[in-house]
Amino acid sequence: MKKILTSALLVAMAVSSWAQTPEEKGLEIAIEGDKRSEGYGDSKVKLKMVLIDKKGRQSSRDMRVKGLEGKGGEGDKSLMIFDTPKDQKGVAMLTFTHKVKSDDQWLFLPALKRVKKISSRNKSGPFVGSEFAFEDISSQEVEKYTYKYLRDETVNGMDCFVVENIPTDKYSGYTKQVVWIDKAEYRAVKIEYYDRKKSLLKTLVSQDYKQYLGKYWRPSLMVMTNHQTGKSTRLVYEDYAFNVGLKEKAFTKNSLKRAR
């Protein structure tokens, strides 16, 4: 039912595109991008996070991420398990993304066997010491922003839409994001983040996109650069797998305790 409605909406928007406002066009692009990533079911990926400071010193973290696509009106679920640094091994984080209300998030501390709920107020805070904030790594639901199409622009030879996203959550650390989306595949190839004082804070560049199951595009490398501190964080994705048969029971509060 929802799909029919969405399609009807898209058709209606396409027909009336001559009268489209920048806001309508922005939303249309976001909905199309979201639609193209629908139906992946579940996924698994290995992730290496490399933190690079101003002087170029590096430290790294290894983690694995399992994802489960939300059904009906629900957002996606994700489980992130840390393998290194070694003292963090077994730390796991479960996130239930919601389209409108704040996400639910729990952290498992293996030494104490304690599961702690994390406040969604923390979303603007750095994620495990990196230049990514919690909100940058969480599942991007259409409802989390309002949109405004700005212009067309070419990035690395790719024809892109440039869209301004304004977070709807008052706890977001950003006043706006400017997103470059390639017209061919609707992939976010570049995002600029503007802080609460409206100045440019960070730039995320996603590259080496690969296609999985003949449908889903995922970057192999994401680089987040913080312009105010000179630090950056690289995310290197490996061994992506989709539709591997993960079940709901692998994404529960209790499953955190046996996540490995």
Binding site: L51, D53, S59, K117, R121
Partner: protein
């Protein structure tokens, strides 16, 4: 000392060998290890001490510990075995030199339930200052005085995960006695513990039962729990001896009663606030474990005379008596407020305020907080070394005494971490905490992960 170490190790290794053989067709075993070196320095600023001089002279203590973790999974990861043996060698304290099976658990996951069989650890609770509800595991108090280090608990656990919440059912077939520092070591008050006394006629083999239901609605989380069996917390008394016609404490006596406990946990997250409440009602706890002083007095007055007359020593009378069990309640309630990115840095600053209350008041067991307030700040640097700092003061507003603690953690490089813990005790003269008066310490721990 050796036998104390070897017994659990041999048992553990034998069991593991058997289990690992049983699953040898899937012989992939992951092994991890954590090696800790710890050095503690003790301070006391008073000319006289309650402690005997041999303890006071122990200014520096070295200790090492090793925890291994062996893990294997099969049946599409629906069945796993985890084995975590732990050993510590302590320079000064023979009681702290100990081994334990922290975990030896077979875990089976099916569509409708999860089954755990073996030795393991379970944590219940939400508050920081006191862990009132947490009752499955015994505290390994020689490891740390914060009560957060636990001995492995033998158990059968069935977990039902449903739409309406999670229900955990436990059968606990064996009781572990709490560990205590030896009389010649720090944090012991200079007294040894006599063998434990139990209310249950089957002593540590009493079968205990527990259950816990937990669920959440958005940012509101709650849990209800129940326990029936041998209390993890002992009622403590003293054995006395006569020295020059005066009664002096000789050793601790601990009595583990059979109790029933109902526990409630509530946590509500709202913006930067985390509101927390834990409460228990316990039934069957004796108020005291006391000495029948009339018999003792008689013994003191007569024993020397009788010894002179007969040449035989008169045995010290069995004088411990247990008052009638009664019920009481205890609560811990408060909040943690977190400011994300203070002063436009990456640092998160948390403020923790909790109030702890025990309806027994001055009759509460020595480890309990009768009427205390915790004020603490938690700092998270959010740096690449995951540095954190927790500094707090626990203030007892009735006795007007307090203790201060600082705990910090950072990573030197991948595989090596450093932890700092410092505690200062400032008990009032009539406070049950007086035994800690001269035990202020700073402890550094280096943890190496293999």
């Amino acid at each position: 000392m050796m036998s104390k170490l070897t017994a659990p190790v041999v048992t553990g290794l034998t069991l593991t060998a058997a289990l690992m053989t049983a699953v040898s067709s899937h012989a992939e075993i992951a092994i991890d290890a954590q090696l800790d070196y710890e050095i503690s320095a003790y301070f006391n600023d008073r000319a006289t001490s309650f402690l005997n001089s041999s303890i006071v002279d122990q200014r520096i203590n070295n200790s090492v510990s090793l925890e291994l973790e062996l893990f294997t999974a099969w049946d599409n990861d629906d069945q796993t075995i985890t084995f975590k043996p732990f050993f510590r060698q302590d320079e000064m304290d023979d009681e702290r030199t100990h081994g334990d099976i922290r975990e030896l658990m077979w875990n089976k996951l099916s569509d409708d339930y999860e089954l755990k069989l073996g030795v393991g650890k379970v944590f219940w609770g939400v508050t920081e200052s006191a862990h009132l509800v947490d009752i499955i595991n015994q505290t390994d108090s020689v490891e740390s005085i914060d009560g957060e280090q636990k001995l492995g608990q033998p158990m059968v656990q069935v977990l039902l995960e449903r739409e309406w919440g999670n229900l955990d059912l436990f059968v606990l077939p064996y009781f572990r006695e709490r560990t205590f520092a030896g009389s010649q070591a720090r944090l012991s008050a200079g007294l040894d513990y006599a063998a434990a006394d139990y209310e249950s006629s089957s002593a540590e083999q009493n079968i205990d039962f527990a259950m816990r239901f937990n669920s959440y609605i958005d940012d509101f989380e709650y849990a209800l729990s129940a326990f029936h069996g041998t209390s993890r917390e002992a009622v403590v008394g003293f054995d006395y001896k006569a020295v020059d016609g005066v009664l002096v404490a000789d050793q601790f006596r601990s009595y583990y009663p059979i109790i029933s406990q109902i526990g409630v946990e509530v946590q509500y997250l709202n913006e930067g606030w985390a509101w927390k409440f834990e409460g228990i009602v316990r039934d069957g706890v004796p108020v005291s474990y006391y000495v029948n002083s009339t018999e003792l007095l008689t013994w003191i007055l007569q024993s020397e005379v009788i010894e002179e007359l007969t040449g035989e020593k008169m045995p010290v009378p069995e004088t411990m008596e247990i008052s009638k069990g009664e019920n009481y309640f205890a609560t811990a309630a408060g909040f943690e407020y977190t400011q994300v990115g203070i002063w436009e840095t990456r640092i998160d600053l948390g403020w923790v305020v909790e109030h702890i209350y025990d309806s027994r008041q001055e009759k509460a067991s020595p480890g309990a907080f009768e009427h205390d307030v915790l004020l603490a700040t938690r700092w998270a640097a959010n740096d690449d070394a995951d540095s954190t700092l927790l500094a707090g003061v626990v203030y007892d507003y009735e006795y007007e005494d307090y203790s201060v603690s600082i705990e910090g953690n950072t990573r030197l490089f991948d595989g090596l971490s450093l932890a700092v813990e410092a505690r200062v005790f400032a008990p009032a003269n009539d406070s049950p905490q007086i035994a800690f008066r001269d035990e202020d310490f700073v402890k550094l721990t280096l943890s190496y992960y293999l």
